[in-house]
Symmetry: C2
Subunit: 108 residues, 2 copies
């Protein structure tokens, strides 16, 4: 999968994995890998800045903890984040319809 195919789609995906339980960055990486069937192996240089950005934007809230001598920053969805996630899901449906309308994949 090409690098910037993700562009603009990563944010809702990150929000989605913390929808039902707060997770720390590394666990978010693993959750994305697992949910995508091994396709989505984000470099840390993508994920961590994205998390900071989402927190600055008010969609995530974080707090530090220490587990087994390791520091973790755990992120949870805010109510603004939940709204953004819902909007993102809706936008995905539209986007998919646009791409498939143009590509007409039935004629592949």
């Amino acid at each position: 999968m090409k690098a910037d195919a993700l562009r603009g789609h990563l944010d809702p995906m990150i929000l989605a994995v913390v929808e039902h339980e707060p997770l720390h960055g590394y666990a978010i990486m693993e959750a994305l890998l697992e949910r995508s069937g091994g396709e989505l192996d984000l470099p840390t240089g993508t994920l961590y800045p994205a998390l900071r950005r989402l927190e600055r934007a008010g969609y995530l809230a974080s707090e530090w903890s220490t587990v087994g001598g390791r520091k973790r920053r755990t992120y949870q969805l805010t109510s603004a984040g939940a709204k953004m996630l819902a909007a993102g899901k809706q936008e995905w449906v539209t986007f998919r319809a646009v791409v498939e309308g143009v590509l007409r994949p039935g004629q592949a």
Copy 2:
């Protein structure tokens, strides 16, 4: 629809509209608008550079003509372009599976 949701998905879409008939730039714009149900209204500053890029890459070939006093540059798919289009369609299927696996839109 967000601006850079398109990132990395525009190229196959452009190739798709000239798959069965050569079209000039303006007609490609209109075809994208029509096939997307009015959602995909590309600015000329996006489309024309993209067409140049696709031609430089060998996926499109162009020639000039004059119709009703107006100059047109008509693009057609090359065989390399056809291969790229097929690959792009396949990549889209993968990409869609990844996003939907993460988003789980059934739980919206």
